[in-house]
Symmetry: C2
Subunit: 291 residues, 2 copies
């Protein structure tokens, strides 16, 4: 009856919360707090790289989550990050999870920041990868030539476009991208429902709204005391690394780790290093982020 | 006859190289390559924090070095980084050290970059802390109000000014600064000669020269393939963290690690984390910087 703790095989589960049904996967075990993982633009449960989730599931439960309107979750994709954070908190409440760590990648990192502001008591430590603060710049402008040329390339089928978008245009980074795509394909059953155009439209609206600062500069971030690890590929075309600089400069308690020769998917490219750093960061009980 | 491997007690040694005598300390042992440490503006052998040098001396020899005109080294302080690199290479040649790693802090990080360009075969891995690429900005402008108010404060005696300059103006960072000053005071015998005004004048001229790019942008850095770890305090008033961003963006093979709540002396403030990261980085034999 032993089930491998892997996103390649973990069953997709459904959770009722009010009128809403949320799809999720929960796997791994150990004494550490569960780690909630929040996904990128148009990503589903199937877009989590087992090379990232599985090593982290050694020592803790990993919880992957489809927000409203994604995968097999019911409802409509909100057009604000705030709306997405409300869904994720409703999910945690229905799951009875009141103390965890959170890893947010890209759009998921924005949702994580909003959740930590909305319900700070739930979260101990936060990992923000390839993301941006509210009021950030150069966030998912898909019409940029460096992105549009891949998105408009009819020869790129399926995940091939993800390899171009998430990885730097070097042979080493593209090779890492090919390996990433192969790892995603390890899961062959109980697959999630891919995102369609309506998901992309709503999430892009959320990015545009997130680019508007609500206050002075990045002042929102001063109120987040949680130890945070900010991670970015240094050549990220989807969400510029400058956003991670602003996060590290304005969060009071954040370590910044930036990887060379990589783009938006640096955590997948350097999965061994990333999971080693993340595990060391999460293993610390210090009130200070440095690990 | 066992001597503790510590910069608090290691004897200062003198090495003859042509017309020049260099002062240095060499301590620690182990199978890893020796680590050459290059010092900051006006710093001598006595300014190396034992909490940084000593853990690194477990597993390898640590070599601390006074460039020409510093401490008990003879000669004149060069007014260019290139001149300082020439002295450091002459020192290594005289010592017979033809394969090592290098840790350069502040001015020392500039000298390290120049040495790696001048004699790439010597160096395997490089750690650059609180430093800047050639053509960087906001490098040691001591007339800046945030620096000048401490440098011109007659109530700050001895190392007290270093605590203000190297650490952020928070209670936590200043407390770390006070602990740093206490650790420097652990060494009570065989002290180095403190730097005077002539040292500062020549080194400031070297900073001004280093601010001029010799080529297009930061193109010099593309030719440095050595795996590099770039480290900075996020609130560095002496050499802005933006310089570490430029290093990580333009070196082809560099990981960036930035610390919160800290200034120029982040390696001293977070010495446990810094030495843990540095040891892990140096332990790697990968051609890629991520560790």
């Amino acid at each position: 009856m032993t089930r491998a703790a892997s996103n390649a095989t973990a069953p997709t589960q459904l959770l009722q919360a009010g009128n809403q049904t949320y799809a999720y996967r929960r796997f791994g075990s150990g004494p550490a707090r569960p780690l909630l993982c929040l996904q990128h633009f148009t990503g589903t449960l199937d877009n989590w790289d087992p090379a990232v989730t599985d090593p982290l599931a050694t020592g803790r439960e990993v919880v992957l989550f489809d927000s409203a309107g994604i995968g097999r979750s019911t409802g409509t994709v909100p057009d604000t990050v705030g709306g997405m954070a409300t869904h994720a908190i409703a999910f945690l409440d229905a799951l009875g999870l009141d103390n965890c760590d959170v890893l947010g990648f890209s759009l998921g990192g924005m949702v994580a920041q909003q959740m930590v502001r909305d319900r700070p008591s739930i979260f101990r430590r936060m990992i923000l990868v390839g993301t941006a603060p509210r009021g950030g710049e150069d966030i998912m402008h898909l019409q940029k030539p460096s992105l549009a040329r891949h998105l408009g390339d009819p020869t790129l089928k399926g995940y091939a476009v993800l390899q171009k978008l998430f990885f730097a245009p070097t042979s080493s980074s593209q090779a890492a991208g090919a390996a990433f795509i192969e790892r995603l394909a390890q899961r062959s059953e109980d697959l999630d429902t891919p995102s369609g155009a309506a998901v992309a439209t709503a999430q892009l609206a959320a990015f545009r709204e997130w680019e508007h600062s609500t206050g002075v500069g990045f002042g929102d971030l001063e109120g987040i005391p949680q130890p945070t690890l900010v991670v970015n590929g240094i050549h990220d075309e989807m969400i510029s690394v400058s956003n991670s600089y602003r996060l590290a400069e304005n969060l009071p308690n954040a370590v910044l780790l930036a990887y060379p020769d990589s783009g938006h998917g640096s955590l997948f490219q350097f999965h061994e290093s990333f999971t080693r750093h993340t595990a060391a960061f999460l293993a610390s009980d210090s009130p200070f982020a440095p690990y």
